[in-house]
């Protein structure tokens, strides 16, 4: 028993020292080529001027595609656990009126985030997080389906990101550009197109995940007025 404890402590120590060493090399490493220089140099070829968006949607598009796939897998796992739990009680009048004014603002802010991501901090993830927050807010105010659309539309919204991303890549491959390599002439619009789909998917997935199960087909608590669509 004691030997095992010592061995565990030893192994953890070795892993910790290794990680610290790697971090030290990463921070102070001189004479080592950093990817930053390569990436920043080629940002003009990516179709967007924000380096982070260029990396996410162009240079390392595989990461983003697989991340959307992870989101899809997670929501499928959550839905397979059963129907959504009973929602919260309908919120009071103050919370409801706050919701009806804040949710449209969140949707507007999400649209702005999506557009601004091309040249400044922002992008599909931030926009999707705002949409998800709008859904969580609606859910807390008592809407059993968190403002999500009907099950058929919701399923489409959940797969839209992966679908649009993969189809764009396959079409590019068919036209000879290569899987996920965007020709510079259309890169900007292609990235915007994919990011729009990704935003809807991320927002719908986060809001649906908050419900902890497959949302009911019909709303248990009908909305008081407005703000039922995400």
């Amino acid at each position: 028993m004691r030997v095992r404890h010592v061995l565990i402590a030893l192994a953890l120590g070795i892993i910790g020292i290794n990680l610290g060493w790697v971090l030290w090399l990463g921070v102070t490493g001189e004479g080592v080529a950093r990817l930053a220089d390569v990436a920043l140099e080629r940002v003009p070829e990516s179709g967007v001027s924000n380096p982070v968006t260029a990396v996410l949607l162009n240079f390392r598009a595989y990461d983003t595609l697989l991340e959307l796939a992870v989101l899809l897998a997670a929501i499928l796992g959550i839905w397979s656990a059963g129907p959504a739990l009973t929602g919260f009680l309908p919120g009071g009048p103050v919370l409801r009126s706050l919701t009806t004014s804040v949710v449209p603002l969140l949707i507007l802010a999400a649209g702005y985030m999506l557009w601004v991501g091309g040249h400044a901090p922002g992008g599909a993830f931030q926009a999707g997080a705002l949409l998800g927050a709008a859904g969580v807010m609606l859910s807390l105010a008592g809407q059993a389906n968190a403002g999500l659309p009907s099950p058929r539309v919701l399923r489409l919204a959940i797969v839209l990101g992966v679908l649009v991303f993969t189809m764009s890549a396959v079409v590019l491959m068919a036209t000879g550009a290569g899987f996920l390599s965007f020709p510079i002439a259309i890169a900007k619009w292609l990235i915007l197109f994919i990011e729009t789909a990704a935003t809807l998917t991320i927002g719908a997935t986060l809001a649906a995940a908050y419900l902890a199960g497959e949302p009911p087909a019909q709303e248990r608590f009908p909305p008081q007025r407005g703000g039922s669509e995400l």
Binding site: P51, V52, R60, A81
Partner: protein, 68 residues
């Protein structure tokens, strides 16, 4: 909710947040140079994956707990 699982999830998220902050800090390349966009992009991807994994784990834990 299964309490040990909840504690593990919180611990995992605290660790993850720490790793994300370290990665963001590693992107710093000096006052006169643009930060390295690659660790920042990795962090953005990582946050979404961490959130979805936590959500799935919470749902599984809730169903395993049998209550509510």
């Amino acid at each position: 909710m299964h309490e040990p699982l909840l504690r593990k999830l919180i611990a995992l998220n605290v660790t993850g947040a720490g790793v994300f902050h370290v990665l963001v800090a590693v992107a710093y390349r000096g006052l006169d140079a643009a930060p390295d966009p690659i660790p920042q992009a990795l962090v953005l991807t990582g946050i979404v994956v961490a959130v979805s994994a936590t959500a799935l784990a919470l749902v599984l834990g809730q169903r395993l707990g049998g209550r509510q």
